[in-house]
């Protein structure tokens, strides 16, 4: 099997990929290094910090007077978890309906959804703000509810990928279930869902990351209510001219912390990334 030419090509390809991987990982490596840097300020003249410390993380979570990071973290977590649950349900339900049910408005609705999703969501943010204000969700603790609403309410529109996945599940399975006397809801929960783990995980991940990293809507809705700031606003504040010198390394620490829940969620979910389709239909 040894083919010298193939070996050389493989070496070249792997070397090329290694270089790409290195370039890709460099910024992440740098932000982790910076989060442990002892020297303050944003400018450094060496790649590796001169001395290391864990104080940036300690300061981030204990110095709560100026920028209350733990609270921002909690706010964001509450919002992201709620949004994740609601919008996953929305997306999967809509996708299932679009894939399996036939009704008159279906095609029209799909076209409309396609056009609507072409526009960025923040286009309407001022209008959304005024609507929320009109129904009294723009002040106090209702801000969290407002943000959850914003992130999850429109999520049903993003059904295209999940619908594409459901379309690949043979209809004959559904028909078999119907013959056995299952309702649509039972087919959805007992048949389709167990077969669609990869797409459920994908939906959960994207609907969690959306609110977790969003800045624009959070900034417009929270305005000056510092109690309800999310991590994105907090991290942005750390880079303002009043704070940047003292908080730059904490910003890096914050950036590392922000990536942890996403990483945990992914690692936890990854176990379910298995082919659910094999051997479902015989013949």
């Amino acid at each position: 099997m040894r083919n010298p030419r193939k070996t050389i090509i493989n070496i070249l390809v792997h070397a090329f990929l290694a270089v790409l991987a290195f370039i890709w990982l460099l910024p992440i490596f740098w932000i982790i290094l910076t989060s442990f840097r002892k020297e303050k300020g944003s400018y450094v003249n060496s790649f590796f910090p001169k001395s290391y410390t864990f104080d940036n993380y300690i300061k981030l979570f204990t110095n709560r007077n100026v920028l209350n990071f733990p609270q921002m973290f909690a706010n964001t977590l509450i919002i992201a978890v709620c949004t994740c649950l609601i919008s996953t349900f929305f997306v999967l339900s809509v996708s299932y309906c679009m894939s399996r049910l036939r009704f008159r408005f279906r095609k029209t609705y799909m076209n409309m959804a396609m056009i609507l999703t072409l526009f960025p969501g923040f286009m309407s943010m001022i209008a959304v703000y005024y609507i929320l204000k009109a129904i009294g969700l723009s002040e106090g603790s209702m801000i969290r509810v407002a943000l959850i609403l914003i992130y999850s309410a429109g999520s049903g529109l993003g059904f295209y990928i999940a619908k594409g996945f459901f379309d690949t599940i043979p209809k004959s399975i559904d028909e078999a279930a119907i013959i056995d006397g299952a309702t649509r809801w039972q087919i959805f929960t007992k048949v389709t869902m167990p077969l669609s783990k990869p797409i459920i995980i994908y939906t959960v991940l994207t609907s969690f990351i959306g609110p977790w990293v969003d800045f624009i809507f959070a900034k417009v809705i929270c305005r000056a209510n510092s109690k309800y700031f999310t991590v994105a606003i907090g991290l942005w504040n750390m880079l303002q001219k009043e704070y940047i010198h003292d908080w730059y390394t904490c910003f890096a620490a914050g950036a590392v912390c922000v990536s942890i829940p996403i990483a945990v969620l992914f690692i936890f979910m990854q176990r379910y990334y298995v082919e659910g389709m094999a051997g479902a239909v015989k013949g």
Binding site: K40, S42, Y43, T108, M123, Y129, K219, A224, H245
Partner: protein, 432 residues
């Protein structure tokens, strides 16, 4: 066919709703009319605030200020002062709600929805035209203005005056100056930039348009006429006086002892000794103190030699001020509170708690090196940052000039062309 018609219809629908989205922004404009209205109300109510027996009012007043002013570790200036204000007006039953909004952020947060913004808030003076356009700031009148004029220098009053009206109670100046290392430069050295460059490394934010103007203005270029209020006069960055400065800056950027201060290079350099002088403002005081310790010197920006004569660099000077929302339900309370927060006593407390320099001339700042330097800057090395709505056209062309000087695109050969191009860009309304 049907599909196409439908798609067209939907596209049309989207466009309409997109326009409607913009429309909601426009809606805030009529509120600007309310500004003058409530301003007259305020001047009337201001008198009642002065009479010893206040009418009975129960009100919730929302106040926005930067987070540091609400930090218990620094004494929570905002809360302390607001409570002192409430104690002084026994007949008013006031509840305060505090929000966090730094002075630089006021424009964004207030303009989003002026009706839901704070009654009293702090802002940087260059935002007045925008705040006014959004209907988020009230013109002050009556005793409030008399007090401002009586206790502040004319420069400071000018920073909050727009189209003849006073729009805020100034509480601190907002400008920049020079921090230097006393072990490298003597007090005589720091009077001339050229002398400094011979003796040590100087970092200047050349690619920041807030700073670069100092050179051009120093050599006679003007923004909106001599006093910065004549909008029709536009920018005058043309002719030999401007080209001479561009030439000087090309040499400056090439000087081995010069660093362009970007991304925090200056402060880091002061710390490790690779830079001996930087240009910045009071917000960097603590960081510089930490880097230089007892060797820290503060001075106004130096002169520079252009065309054989010494020209004084002139920093943009502005102020941070306390504004009142015209949509406030209790305008007389809001105006009284704004005046109180900008009063001499409150400024003194601010100085003690956070080293925020006062503007009130009755406060003695002798012994505070930062305050003396700033007074010096305001007296001889500054120009009022123009409060004109077309000022927005200045920033981008000036910044590209700075960038191009730093990266070497601008040379002695094309300095004249590039300067003229910058002047044209600033004066053409299409660039915003």
């Amino acid at each position: 066919m049907k599909k196409k018609v439908l798609a067209m219809f939907l596209t049309g629908l989207m466009t309409v709703s997109a326009l409607a989205g913009c429309g909601s922004k426009e809606e805030t404009k009529p509120a600007a009319e309310g500004a003058t209205e409530s301003a007259s109300e305020e001047s009337a109510s201001e008198e009642s605030a002065q009479t010893p027996a206040d009418e009975k009012i129960t009100a919730t007043i929302t106040v926005w200020g930067p987070q540091e002013d609400q930090d218990d570790a620094n004494g929570n200036w905002l809360k302390t002062e607001c409570e002192a204000f409430a104690a002084e007006h026994a007949d008013w039953d006031l509840t305060f709600e505090y929000g966090v909004c730094s002075e630089g952020d006021a424009k964004t947060n207030v303009a989003t929805d002026p009706t839901a913004a704070a009654d009293v808030y702090m802002f940087a003076n260059d935002q007045i035209p925008d705040l006014l356009a959004a209907g988020g700031i009230a013109e002050l009148g009556g005793t409030a203005v008399e007090n401002i004029k009586a206790s502040n220098s004319e420069t400071m009053v000018n920073t909050v005056t727009y189209d003849g009206g006073v729009y805020g109670v100034p509480f601190t100046s907002n400008t920049w100056f020079m921090y230097y290392d006393k072990s490298v430069f003597t007090e005589d050295d720091v009077k001339s930039l050229d002398t400094m460059l011979e003796k040590g490394v100087v970092a200047f934010p050349l690619s920041n348009s807030w700073y670069i103007a100092s050179f051009y203005v120093g050599n006679g270029c003007t923004l909106f006429g001599a006093d910065g209020t004549d909008e029709a006069a536009g920018f005058d960055f043309s002719g030999d006086k401007a080209v001479a400065v561009t030439d000087y800056l090309v040499d400056l950027a090439a000087n081995p002892n010069f660093r362009n201060d970007a991304d925090g290079l200056g402060i880091a350099g002061l710390g490790d000794g690779s830079v001996s002088a930087i240009f910045s403002g009071s917000w960097d005081y603590d960081a510089v103190k930490e880097a230089l310790g007892d060797n820290m010197g503060i001075a106004a920006a130096p002169t520079f030699k252009v065309g054989g004569t010494d020209a004084q660099m002139k920093a943009f000077a502005g102020s941070k001020a306390i504004g009142v929302n015209p949509n406030s339900k209790n305008p007389q309370v809001a105006v009284a509170l704004a005046s109180y927060l900008g009063s001499a006593d409150a400024q003194k407390a601010h100085l003690e708690m956070r080293n925020i320099l006062p503007t009130d001339s009755s406060i003695d700042v002798a012994g505070n090196d930062l305050a003396t330097a700033v007074q010096d800057v305001l007296a001889k090395a500054s120009t009022v940052q123009p409060l004109v709505s077309t000022m927005g056209q200045y920033w981008t062309p000036a910044q590209s000039m700075g960038d191009e000087i730093v990266n070497g695109t601008v040379t002695h050969d094309n300095a004249a062309d590039k300067t003229e191009a910058m002047n044209t860009a600033m004066n053409s309304a299409s660039v915003e």
